[in-house]
């Protein structure tokens, strides 16, 4: 067991997979010699050499297209898109190429690749370097979508993503890179499509993803300490496949549902979860499900404005308390 930052967990996760399988290759902007703009790939170039860890031009379409061509013909590429906002300039591959090639070819074409990207807000970067784009990906049949919240999950889910035979979008949260957590020694391999109950509780279920997980946990501690409300916190971890059984099981025990989403309001993943619970567990609910989200706005740069926009622990506390006391 060692304490590791989320950033160093990315390095360890990639190294674990590249050591295991010589077909795993890694490409992206500034990822090799520079060690990544978030310093989340430091040392990989030195460890695995210039043939396996390759700097690219600022050509996001070339990066993702090349990853796909390599994946179709036998490699297991990891591609980095520096900021998830840049998905917009290479969205053809994410929306049209990776996820549809298997279906359109009636199963002939395979696309086992991972796209790692820095997602999410909190860094005061403004509207084009701060977005939470998980919903852009979740809506596309054929993709898998993963977003770890802890260093341990970074390694385990990254390993699962690299070993998965489908294209996986792997969303690393920029503001979590410096955070620390305990990580077991040795190989870590997780399973995609498994949510994790990170805090058991009986009064309400709070479902969160990525940076919203530590905030939901902080809120749960405060709700317990100050208001006697005992919340269960679920880290979704994987939006596709989605572990609905863990969610439905929790709601059956707590009878209340809250989602905490960093994304802007419309069509957020929480809406899908609320819809599933409404369809399948309506009579388990003792009150209306509540979505706690960023308002439907572009994110501002100024710290006080960004902090106001993103769901905070205090906002979660307030929403849960009001809802349960009403």
């Amino acid at each position: 067991m060692a304490e590791l930052t989320y950033r160093d967990a990315v390095i360890r996760g990639i190294a674990q997979e590249m050591t295991r399988d010589p077909d795993v290759v890694f490409l992206g902007e500034d990822i090799a010699k520079a060690g990544g703009v978030f310093k989340a790939t430091v040392g990989l170039y030195e460890q695995f050499g210039p043939l396996r860890v390759r700097d690219t031009p600022i050509s996001e379409q070339a990066i993702l297209g090349a990853a796909m061509g390599a994946a179709m013909t036998g490699l297991k590429p990891i591609a980095e898109i520096m900021f998830s906002d840049f998905f917009a300039v290479c969205f053809d591959y994410i929306a049209n190429e990776f996820p549809k090639s298997r279906y359109m070819s009636n199963g002939q074409v395979k696309c086992p690749l991972v796209v790692r990207t820095g997602n999410g807000g909190g860094a005061r970067f403004g509207a084009q370097h701060s977005q939470s784009v998980e919903n852009w990906c979740m809506m596309i049949p054929g993709l898998k979508v993963v977003a770890p919240s802890s260093p341990r999950d970074v390694i385990g889910l990254l390993a699962a993503a690299v070993r998965d035979p489908d294209p996986v979008i792997f969303l690393e949260h920029k503001s979590l890179y410096p955070t620390k957590g305990e990580v077991p020694d040795g190989e870590i391999v997780d399973k995609l499509g498994t949510a994790s109950i990170v805090r058991p509780g009986g009064d309400a279920t709070i479902i969160a993803l990525a940076m919203m997980v530590p905030r939901a946990l902080a809120a749960a501690e405060k709700l317990k300490a100050e208001h006697g409300i005992d919340c269960e916190v679920i880290d979704v971890r994987s939006l596709v496949p989605l572990d609905t059984q863990t969610i439905l099981g929790s709601v059956a025990r707590t009878h209340r549902l809250f989602t905490v989403e960093e994304n802007p309001r419309l069509c957020g993943w929480g809406a899908e979860i609320v819809s599933i619970v409404a369809d399948e567990a309506f009579y388990d609910l003792d009150g209306p499900p509540v979505r706690i989200t960023t308002p439907h706005i572009p994110l501002p740069a100024a710290d006080i404005l960004e902090d106001l926009a993103l769901p905070s622990a205090d906002r979660i506390v307030d929403r849960v308390k009001r809802s349960l006391q009403s």
Partner: protein, 343 residues
Amino acid sequence: MAKVEDRALAPNASLNDDIGEATRLRMYRTQFEIRESEQRAFDLFLQNLVKGTSHLSLGQEAVAAGCAAAMKPGDLSFCTYRGHAHTLARGVPIEKVLGELMQRDNGLMRGKGGSMHLTSVDHGVMGSYAIIGAHLPIACGAAWRAQYKGEKDVSVCFFGDGTTNIGAFHEALNFAAVWKLPVIFICENNLYMEYTPIGDVTAVPHPAADRAASYGLPGIVIDGNDADVVYRTAAAAYDKARAGGGPSLIECMTYRYSGHSRADPAKYRPEGELEKWKERDPIKIYRERLKQFGVKEDIIVGIETDVKRQVDEATEKCKAAPPPALDILTTDVYADGGFAWRN
């Protein structure tokens, strides 16, 4: 090794007998097969038996035949939605192609892809891509795998003149050149992107070749209606790529006889242009070439008769084939064979 650009521009190239009779007969058969199959696809469309859209390569047969004949087994083709010709040229049975166009269960992808997405991995046809430019970076990736694993196959990427103005074209060219990838970019310049002449919307006369210098590559323009010229140029480019010399960009001048897609009667063409190009019809040129090299008329007619019979038989098989089985609607979304996104 001769430079690709020298091979393309060699004087009297078409008269050098370095290709051989077997390859020439194969290229004639391929061109004739494409012509007959595409014409049949058009006829079936008029009978409402080919549904959706289709983009024909009538008039552009020499590019597909020449490029494919110069390939080795294991080489990979990446095509556009105008990809029937390149698919047939790699040896995919006519029935499989027509079956897909007719959306039958015997189609290449059982009707799940359609005319614009013909794919046959077993034949090295790694897909037909309907988003302009998308497959150029993808071909780079396949070439990267060959380079990384020390494999000797080349990736050959076909696209139209219209592709040269989209970002992915430029990203792929730079990427391939910087990484020295064994990928060959073949531009079929048929003078029109969709309805608009390429010259009206492009800053340079040769939309592909005139951009090559930006990526440290020679600008190569060839007669795309002469299969021998295409074959020689492609073979030189493949050799260069296999030897580690990196990518090539070849612009083949050609002309499509039909409209952009089945919805387009091509009324935008100036009067007489089509007729002028038909004088340089690739099949007419090649038939004469065979005779010039002493191939007897009955051998040529034998090929033509055989191909026509094959197209007829394929058509009948497709007409008799059932539509796709309904249970394939949700198969092969994910690698487990299904479409489950939740537990």
